[in-house]
């Protein structure tokens, strides 16, 4: 049985990746889970300059999910290269640099810098709902996606994963735009834009008013979108959104994902990523699947 998965030039030991923004730079979870057990780690969204992010509160629990409005707080891409990559490289896991920008130029500058850095892939975050300028604005339309993906593609030879927002009418359109403009893979979904209100204070609970919904609550929407996208693109799809146990991961692999990312579930269960990898192996064993790709091959829709 072989759990390995290849996405562009990214060769993962297994299809379980820690989702961006939910796993810091890996080191935070290092004492809870053996990082060697993860296929990869997508690090906290990076920007060209350090960012402080939005005001607090930045988090609200919702039924089977949570809202966050962190707004891309991060130490900047240079700090990442200098201080975080060396730590992560100690482990037998892949490093995915998640990058976000306010402008095409921002994205290109980061891609250029990271092209020479010791990372395994770039995840283009054009789907963060928590920043005012750029980001999700690029990711919400096929034209926006085309422009930024084409530009970044020309700046880097690294495996380029484009992270899609679910806040669209037809995610197939944006996925196809990413594919057409040179993405090696797409990852989805980022968070759904949501809100919660404090009925005593009579104000939104998040200082930023709106935030991104993640966690188990969004799983049905994420799974549908992954299925739609996997059915129409020819590049690998990395599925995520609410995956909290190996059974959830299997649903995404059946629907056509080549790998999965796990975010919010880490907060409650810090060993969930490793447990999912074990569960996937057991499921494959039971079903006599030899490759991850066999899982999707066994799937069929009702007619």
């Amino acid at each position: 049985m072989d759990l390995r998965v290849t996405i562009g030039n990214l060769k993962l030991n297994n299809p379980v990746i820690a989702a961006s923004g939910c796993f810091g730079f890996g080191r935070e979870y290092g004492e809870y889970v053996d990082l060697n057990k993860l296929g990869g780690i997508s690090v906290k969204g990076l920007t060209i300059e350090p960012r402080q992010g939005n005001a607090a509160p930045r988090c609200a629990e919702t039924p089977s999910g949570m809202l966050n409005s962190v707004g891309l707080q991060n130490p900047g891409v240079d700090y990442f290269i200098k201080h975080e990559i060396p730590f992560l490289r100690q482990y037998d896991t892949k490093i995915i640099a998640n990058i976000a920008g306010n402008s095409i130029d921002d994205y290109c500058r980061m891609a250029t810098i990271l092209n020479n850095a010791d990372i395994d892939a770039i995840e283009l975050n054009v789907s963060c709902p928590n920043v005012k300028a750029g980001c999700m604005a690029f990711g919400s339309t096929p034209d926006g996606i085309s422009e930024v993906v084409a530009a970044v593609r020309s700046c880097t030879a690294k495996t380029l994963i484009v992270k899609l927002t679910p806040n669209v009418r037809d995610i197939k359109e944006t996925a196809l735009a990413a594919e057409k403009n040179g993405a090696d893979a797409v990852s989805l979904i980022n968070t759904l834009l949501g809100m919660a209100i404090d009925i005593d204070k009579k104000r939104p609970l998040l200082a930023n008013n709106y935030g991104g919904l993640s966690g188990a609550a969004v799983k049905p929407v994420a799974l549908r979108m992954v299925h739609e996208v996997a059915s129409c693109v020819n590049i690998p799809v990395i599925g995520m959104g609410g995956i909290s146990c190996w059974q959830d991961a299997i649903e995404f692999l059946l629907a056509g994902a080549s790998a999965v990312m796990v975010g919010t579930a880490n907060f409650t269960n810090p060993t969930v990523t490793a447990e999912i990898a074990v569960g996937i192996a057991a499921y494959m064993e039971k079903n006599d699947f030899r490759q991850i790709a066999d899982i999707h091959k066994a799937f069929s829709v009702n007619n």
Binding site: G21, C22, F23, G24, E28, Y29, E31, Y32, K44, Q52, G53, N54, A55, A56, P57, R58, C59, A60, E61, S64, G65, M66, N68, V70, Q73, G215, A216, A217, S244, C245, T264, A265, N266, F267, T268, N269, P270, T271, V272
Partner: protein
């Protein structure tokens, strides 16, 4: 490793909605520090976030650790239902606790509401210092563990907002009156609602007394990975967002930018 599955060995209901749990946790009891917190999984359902609860008492000899919590919403309600013998899935000890300097001879601790709990383990660190404790509650009915605090303190002032017991007024007013008397402590430790902390921090600055405050913020991971628990702190060049779960919950009052 900071993840532990610990057994509840004692469960006391202190009030209509306040509980004290004691867990057996030898390794934790040996290294947990006052001001650190436990991040508690209250539910079998992975989709519920953990709840941060401060350490109330650390009993290294008997391998025990206890915490006191108020039932507020769904998570603490589930927690309150747990029985003796049940295992709790906790991440602990988390965060940066109180900075305990041996040369503090005269210490003040000021706590409000459910913010009083982390102060007990702290007071125990100063067997020899002169300890003044000022606790504030809405009314006498809400005073929790006042006796426990009184016993361990050299001077104990209980404040109630409605004057139903002790000092009629809030903890900042009580503290101000104390400080005006002229004898200034080496340090003030404070924990409670933000409005209270801000008032205490202001007094500390005014009287030029070092002050540590324990902040609260909504948390997800509890370990510095998700960055949701931001609080604004001063840096040399301006300000930054620090994180209550990791850089805190205890900060030096002069570093905190109150908004």
């Amino acid at each position: 490793m900071n993840r532990h599955f610990v057994e509840i060995v004692e469960r006391k209901q202190l009030n209509s909605d306040i509980y004290q749990f004691t867990v057996r946790a030898p390794e934790l009891a040996a290294r947990a520090l006052p001001g650190q917190f436990l991040h508690i999984n209250c539910s079998d359902d992975v989709s519920m976030l953990r709840r941060p609860i401060s350490i109330f008492d650390i009993d290294a000899t008997n391998h025990r650790l206890s915490f006191i919590f108020q039932v507020r919403g769904r998570g603490t309600a589930l927690l309150a239902q747990k029985k003796v013998g049940a295992k709790l899935d906790i991440l602990a000890p988390l965060g940066t606790g109180f900075e305990i300097k041996p040369d503090y001879q005269n210490i003040y601790v000021v706590g409000g509401g459910i913010g009083v709990f982390p102060l007990y383990a702290l007071l125990k660190q100063y067997p020899d210092a002169h300890k003044t404790t000022i606790l504030g509650f809405a009314s006498v009915g809400k005073c929790i563990r006042a006796g426990t605090f009184a016993d361990i303190s050299d001077q104990f002032i209980c404040c109630t907002d409605d004057g139903s017991s002790g000092f009629h007024g809030n903890t900042a007013q009580a503290l101000e009156r104390q400080l005006q008397s002229g004898y200034l402590p080496d340090i003030i430790f404070a924990c409670g609602p933000t409005v209270m902390l801000r008032a205490i921090a202001k007094l500390a600055a005014q009287f030029n007394i070092p002050c540590q405050v324990s902040l609260e913020e909504r948390m997800a991971c509890g370990i510095g990975a998700c960055l949701v628990c931001a609080c604004k702190t001063r840096t040399e060049s301006g300000w930054q967002h620090s994180h209550v779960c990791k850089d805190g919950p205890v900060f030096w009052a002069q570093d905190v930018i109150w908004e």
